[in-house]
């Protein structure tokens, strides 16, 4: 009997709930340690970024209008589906892969729990010297772009995007350049997780090419750049000033991406604006 035919997967981007190829038609080759080709992946262009931002912008009002509980349910669903792909992801991640998948699943559950709690912790009732109620409350900034670091391609990605979408933002992530496959496989997890189209979009590509366009994009409200070089941080800050983006340059946590400091309220706060409202106490 002949050997079964091996079918190679076409690794594509994840934009607006679909798996398009890059509009540019370009690709990069992913190799393993021995130098053998593992896969060809799309090299996203600035126009793929543009399309992803359009999708994220369109998805934002609906995602932000969902109840906090429903967002939590959907994040929990991501954890469930991610757990179901554990073996496949661990194999792609290589040594220590199982542990990374476990940590990522836990992180999604962590933020699933946060969706209906952070508002109470970030919001305040402010004492003011007059007959008014004065509230400060957290509102999502809008569309975020997150550049993942090279290491921990699944866990670092999760650590960046989970708090953003838990906080009702919509997001575009640019995956680890040297190891994009776990992130791309994660797109298949999202596609089966009740996440509305456009809420989380994943692009494989080159940071140097996409960062200037993401930082200068006036419809992006938050920019996260993990482990940036000094030049990248400068570029992000300068270009991001054009539309007063929230720009966060994030160094790798000292205890690694699995450390407790790589999650929590402070990560959610990066994607929030604080709105203060004055209200008459009585008429």
């Amino acid at each position: 009997m002949s050997a079964p035919l091996r079918v190679w997967k076409t690794w594509k981007l994840f934009v607006n709930g679909q798996f398009p190829r890059s509009e540019s038609g370009r690709y990069d080759v992913v190799k393993d340690a021995s130098g053998a080709t593992v896969a060809n992946v799309c090299r996203a262009s600035r126009k793929d970024l543009r399309d992803a931002v359009e999708a994220a912008r369109a998805a934002f009002p609906g995602w932000a209008a969902r109840s906090a509980m429903n967002r939590g349910q959907i994040l929990y669903r991501i954890a469930e589906m991610l757990d179901g792909r554990r073996a496949e992801l661990a194999a792609l991640l290589g040594k220590g892969g199982e542990r990374e998948v476990d940590a990522a699943v836990e992180r999604w559950i962590h933020y699933a729990g946060w969706t209906d709690k952070y508002q109470a912790l970030l919001g305040t009732v402010n004492p003011v010297a007059g007959p008014w109620f004065n509230f400060s409350m957290a509102e999502p900034s809008g569309v975020a772009v997150a550049f993942a670091p090279e290491d921990s391609p699944l866990l670092a990605l999760t650590s960046l995007v989970a708090p953003l979408i838990a906080g009702a933002n919509t997001c575009i992530a640019i995956l680890s350049e040297s190891a994009p496959l776990p992130g791309l496989l994660f797109g298949e997890v999202l596609a089966t997780s009740d996440v509305p189209a456009g809420v989380l979009n994943l692009l494989s590509g080159r940071r140097a090419e996409i960062l200037p366009h993401a930082a200068g994009h006036r419809d992006v409200n938050t920019l996260l750049v993990a482990s940036p070089t000094a030049a990248e941080a400068k570029l992000a800050q300068e270009e991001g000033a054009g539309n007063v983006k929230r720009v966060h340059c994030i160094a790798a946590p000292s205890g690694g991406w699995s450390a407790p400091e790589a999650q929590g309220l402070a990560w959610i706060e990066r994607g929030q604006e604080i709105k203060t409202v004055w209200h008459t106490m009585q008429l």
Partner: protein, 305 residues
């Protein structure tokens, strides 16, 4: 059978059959043109100058219409100079408001008269509506044909109604809305186009925007070809107005390519080509901003009305 009946029947009977697959293929092929840099900027500004800025909602108020007129005069408030739009298109009762708000500008006031969007009211009432609009200062009348009568084969009736409304328009320009989404086939679209042009329409227009299937590139191509053949036969220049569903600058440029390739540069003129739209304007501005700064723009950067 009177003369008009014979005329209308002959017009419809002599309309050429439309190759549906061919029309779709040709229209699709023309969307593949890459218009960049200077040409793109030129096309965007041209498209802006061809927009009939439209509000046709039951909830239209004088305030809404006035703010739309302000948008028509200066589409990019606070930005660099860009062309004003061609016209503002409103319901009849809003014509006086729009005329007042646009006084002193060259922007036209268009009104959808004739029992828009169905056209189902007695002819006498529709004629009165048209006369009322023109008396109150409308420069252009967008009429709807009675699609029911057309589909029932009462071509003479449709022809005579268009001719009567054209007469009632007096100096105002007449745009004839075919409502292509309700005509079912491209053959029907072609026939209705012929009828409208022979009956005296100055423009033919695809849609009211009130039925799900509005302007598409293939249906526009079919109508543009009718205009071309009519021009070849009679020497008359008829205008074209696709309306409904044109929201992005990219679509607008595709329409311009279609017009240029079918009718030539002569028609790249707001007097002969219009785009019926409302949200299109801000998308054009967004693309112009991108061309200027090199950075992608946000719709938040532009006033809504």
């Amino acid at each position: 059978m009177n003369l008009a009946t014979k005329g209308a029947r002959e017009i419809v009977a002599s309309a050429p059959h439309v190759d549906t697959v061919g029309a779709v293929e040709r229209a699709t092929a023309l969307t593949k043109r890459s218009i960049k840099k200077e040409s793109k900027r030129w096309a965007l500004e041209l498209a802006l100058s061809m927009v009939d800025l439209t509000t046709l909602e039951g909830m239209d108020t004088p305030g809404k219409v006035r703010s739309l007129c302000a948008k028509a005069r200066r589409p990019w408030e606070g930005g660099p100079a860009v062309p004003a739009v061609a016209a503002v298109c409103v319901y009849p009762s809003m014509v006086p408001v729009a005329v007042e708000a646009l006084r002193g500008s060259s922007i036209k006031v268009a009104s959808v008269a004739t029992a828009f969007p169905s056209g189902k009211s007695p002819l006498a009432l529709r004629l009165d509506e048209v006369r009322w609009c023109v008396e109150h200062g409308a420069h252009e009348i967008d009429m709807v044909i009675d699609r029911g009568a057309f589909l029932a084969g009462e071509y003479a009736l449709v022809f005579d109604e268009i001719a009567a409304i054209k007469e009632a328009c007096g100096p105002a320009h007449l745009k004839v809305i075919l409502e292509t989404g309700e005509l079912q086939t491209y053959d029907r679209v072609r026939q209705a186009s012929e009828l409208a042009m022979h009956a005296g329409g100055d423009f033919i227009k695809t849609s009211t925007g009130k039925v799900p299937s509005a302007a598409t590139l293939p249906v526009t191509l079919v109508m543009l070809e009718a205009i071309r053949d009519f021009h070849d036969a009679t020497g008359k220049l008829i205008g074209m107005k696709p309306a409904g569903g044109i929201r992005s600058a990219k679509q607008a440029i595709q329409y311009l390519v279609l017009v240029n390739e079918t009718l030539g540069e002569r028609w790249l003129d707001p007097d002969l080509f219009r785009l019926g739209a409302s949200s299109l304007v801000n998308d054009i501005l967004r693309q112009l901003a991108k061309e200027r700064s090199g950075r992608y723009a946000s719709l938040d950067d532009f006033p809504i009305d």
